[in-house]
C-alpha cells in the first residue's frame, strides 16, 4: 500500500486522538518503525494491522473507524489540499459524482505510483447513483461513505448515502441526491493556492 494512504491513516489517528494513541496503535500493530513515510511503499498487511489495532485501542468497530477516516480526509484542516484536489472534480456534487470514474487516473497523474481504488459510478436514474469500489483490502467502501457524506456537505448538497452490499471483490454504495443546492457549502475557488 502506498505510503500516502498509510500516512493518511496515521494522520487521522494523531490529529484526532493524539500522539499517544498513535504510539499505542503502532505498538499493538507491531509496526517496525516510528511512523509511515509518504513516499515509500508498505506491505498491505501493515495497513490492515494498523486498522485492526486502532479499532481495538479506540474500542470502535472497524467500519465506523473507516467511516471516520473518510470524514477526516475531507474535513480536517491539515488535509485542506486534499479537499481542494477533490473539488477539482466538478462544480456541483452532481458533477463531482460523475467525475469519480476519473479519480484514480487523476491521482496517478500527480503521483504515478499511487494506486487508488478502482471506482465505477452507475447513474441509475435522475438522482440515483451506485458507486462500485474495487480494492484488495475489505472495508474500503466505509472510507468512501464517510468521505462522500462530508463532500456532499462541502458542496452544500443534500444526499442520502448507504451501503449497498458487496461481492466479487466489489463493494457498493447507493447515493440518492435530493438537492444539489440545499445549503451554501464551503467556499472553493480554483485560484486559491494551497500552501
Amino acid at each position: 500500500m502506498h505510503g500516502l494512504v498509510n500516512r493518511a491513516l496515521q494522520g487521522f489517528l494523531t490529529d484526532t486522538y493524539g500522539k499517544d494513541t498513535w504510539e499505542e496503535v503502532r505498538s499493538q500493530a507491531a509496526l517496525p518503525f516510528d511512523g509511515f513515510e509518504s513516499m515509500l511503499h508498505y506491505d498491505d498487511r501493515l495497513t490492515e494491522q494498523t486498522v485492526s489495532a486502532a479499532a481495538a485501542v479506540l474500542h470502535k468497530d472497524a467500519i465506523s473507524l473507516l467511516e471516520d477516516i473518510g470524514t477526516y480526509l475531507v474535513t480536517h484542516p491539515n488535509l485542506e489540499p486534499l479537499r481542494r484536489l477533490l473539488r477539482f472534480g466538478g462544480d456541483t456534487f452532481y458533477d463531482f459524482l460523475q467525475s469519480l470514474d476519473d479519480l484514480a487516473g487523476r491521482a496517478s497523474l500527480a503521483v504515478p505510483d499511487l494506486v487508488l481504488p478502482d471506482l465505477h459510478i452507475c447513474h441509475l436514474h435522475r438522482n440515483s447513483f451506485v458507486l462500485e469500489v474495487k480494492w484488495p483490502v475489505p472495508g474500503i467502501s466505509a472510507v468512501f461513505l464517510g468521505a462522500l457524506r462530508a463532500l456532499a456537505d462541502d458542496y452544500g448538497a443534500l444526499a442520502i448515502l448507504e451501503f449497498d452490499g458487496a461481492g466479487g471483490g466489489i463493494e457498493r454504495i447507493r447515493i440518492e441526491l435530493l438537492d444539489t443546492a440545499h445549503a451554501s457549502g464551503r467556499h472553493f475557488s480554483l485560484g486559491a493556492t494551497a500552501t
Binding site: L4, E37, S38, M39, P81, L82, R84, L85, F88, G90, D91, D95, R106, L109, A110, V111, S189, L190, G191, A192, T193, A194
Partner: protein
C-alpha cells in the same frame, strides 16, 4: 460526395465552445467576445473598441491592420490584452466569410494559474474540452507532493544529524572521535588499579600545509597521519581524532614513562617523513605530551587530559617536534604554560 452545408452558430453556442473568443469586423471594431475573455478584461468593455487599442499582438509579428492580422491566419499567436499585459494568451485567428473581419480564439498561456487566481475563474469559465483545469489540478498536486518530499528530506536530515551525534568514529580518518575516546578513558580510569598512558598529540605546521596547498592537501595529510598512528599502536590501544589536527592516544596496561617517550619519538620521526600530494611535498611534524594513570591516587579523566595538555604545550613552547612527559614542575610559573601563537 455532397458538400456539407455552410452553417452559422448562434452566440450561446460560440460561448460554450469557445468562451475566450473575439470577433472583429472589417472596420477593426470588436463585435463580440466570449464570457471568459470578458471576465478577464474586467471592467473594460471590449465590444465596440478598436482591436489594436485592446490587443497587444506580440508574435509571430505585430500587425496594425485587419489585413495584417488575417495574414497570420492559422499560425500560433502570442498576444495579451493591453490592460492585462502580465497574462499572455495563446491564440489563433481565422478570416470570417465575406470579408466580415476575423475570428480569434484564445487560451490561457503558461500564466494560467495567475489568471485563474486574479480573475477568480471557476470550472464553468472553461470549456469542458479545455485542459487548463487539469493543469491547475496537477500544479496543486505537485506542490503537495513537493511539500511531502521536503518533509521527508527534513526528517532524514534530522535522523542523519542524530546518527552523527551518536557516531563513534571520525568521518574523515576513520579513527575514533572524541565521544569514543571519552567513553574509553572513563572506563579505563574507573578501574581500581588503573594502569594506562594518555598521550595528547598535536600536528605542527599543519596550518601551513592547509593554507598553501589547500584543504584537499590538508585532508590527505590527516588521513596519512591516521594511517601512521594506527600502524604504530598495539591492538587494544585507542587513537582518536579530537580536533582539527589534535589526537589523543590511550595505551592500555602501560606504566612506563620511558616507553611513552620512545613511542612518541618514533611517531614524530615517522610523521616528519614528507608525503606527496599532487606532486607537492607536504611537511609536518608533531608535538606531544603524555601522562600515566599511575601517578594519581584516583585518576580523573579531565585532570589527566588537562595535564597531558600542559605537557603538550610545554613541547610546543620548547620548539615543537618533541615530546614531554608531564611533571608537577611544569605547573611552576617559570616554565609555565605559555602557549605559542
Amino acid at each position: 460526395m455532397r458538400k456539407p452545408p455552410d452553417f452559422a452558430l448562434e452566440g450561446g453556442a460560440l460561448d460554450a465552445l469557445m468562451p475566450m473568443h473575439l470577433w472583429f469586423g472589417a472596420d477593426e471594431r470588436v463585435i463580440r467576445v466570449g464570457p471568459t475573455l470578458a471576465k478577464i478584461a474586467g471592467e473594460e468593455q471590449l465590444v465596440g473598441q478598436r482591436l489594436f487599442d485592446i490587443i497587444d499582438l506580440r508574435r509571430p509579428q505585430a500587425a496594425q491592420t485587419v489585413e495584417g492580422v488575417l495574414a497570420l491566419a492559422g499560425m500560433r499567436l502570442r498576444l495579451a490584452l493591453f490592460r492585462r499585459a502580465d497574462l499572455p494568451f495563446r491564440g489563433v485567428v481565422v478570416p470570417m466569410p465575406g470579408g466580415q473581419g476575423g475570428f480569434i480564439n484564445l487560451s490561457l498561456g503558461v500564466s494560467f494559474a495567475q489568471a485563474v487566481a486574479d480573475c477568480d475563474l471557476t470550472l464553468n469559465d472553461f470549456s469542458p474540452c479545455d485542459q487548463t483545469v487539469d493543469l491547475l489540478y496537477l500544479a496543486e498536486a505537485n506542490a503537495v507532493i513537493a511539500q511531502e518530499s521536503r518533509n521527508l528530506t527534513a526528517r532524514l536530515q534530522r535522523a542523519r544529524e542524530s546518527a552523527e551525534e551518536q557516531a563513534l568514529t571520525d568521518a574523515l580518518t576513520g579513527l575514533h572521535n572524541r565521544r569514543a575516546m571519552d567513553a574509553t578513558l572513563r572506563q579505563l580510569a574507573g578501574d581500581p588499579v588503573a594502569r594506562f598512558g594518555l598521550m595528547h598529540l598535536d600536528l605542527d605546521f599543519f596550518k601551513e600545509v592547509n593554507d598553501t596547498l589547500g584543504h584537499a592537501a590538508g585532508d590527505h595529510v590527516l588521513t596519512h597521519v591516521a594511517d601512521i598512528l594506527r600502524a604504530e599502536i598495539r591492538t587494544g590501544d585507542i587513537v582518536a581524532r579530537v580536533g582539527g589536527d589534535e589526537f589523543v592516544l590511550l595505551f592500555r596496561d602501560c606504566d612506563d614513562a620511558e616507553l611513552l617517550q620512545s613511542i612518541a619519538d618514533r611517531l614524530i620521526r615517522r610523521l616528519e617523513e614528507p608525503t606527496l600530494f599532487d606532486g607537492q611535498q607536504c611537511r609536518i611534524s608533531a608535538s606531544a605530551g603524555s601522562v600515566l594513570a599511575s601517578r594519581y591516587e584516583v585518576p580523573d579523566p579531565d585532570r589527566m587530559l588537562n595535564d597531558a595538555d600542559i605537557a603538550l604545550y610545554t613541547s610546543k613552547h620548547r620548539g615543537r617536534a618533541q615530546h614531554t612527559y608531564f611533571d608537577d614542575e611544569l605547573l611552576a610559573p617559570v616554565t609555565g604554560t605559555v602557549r605559542p601563537n
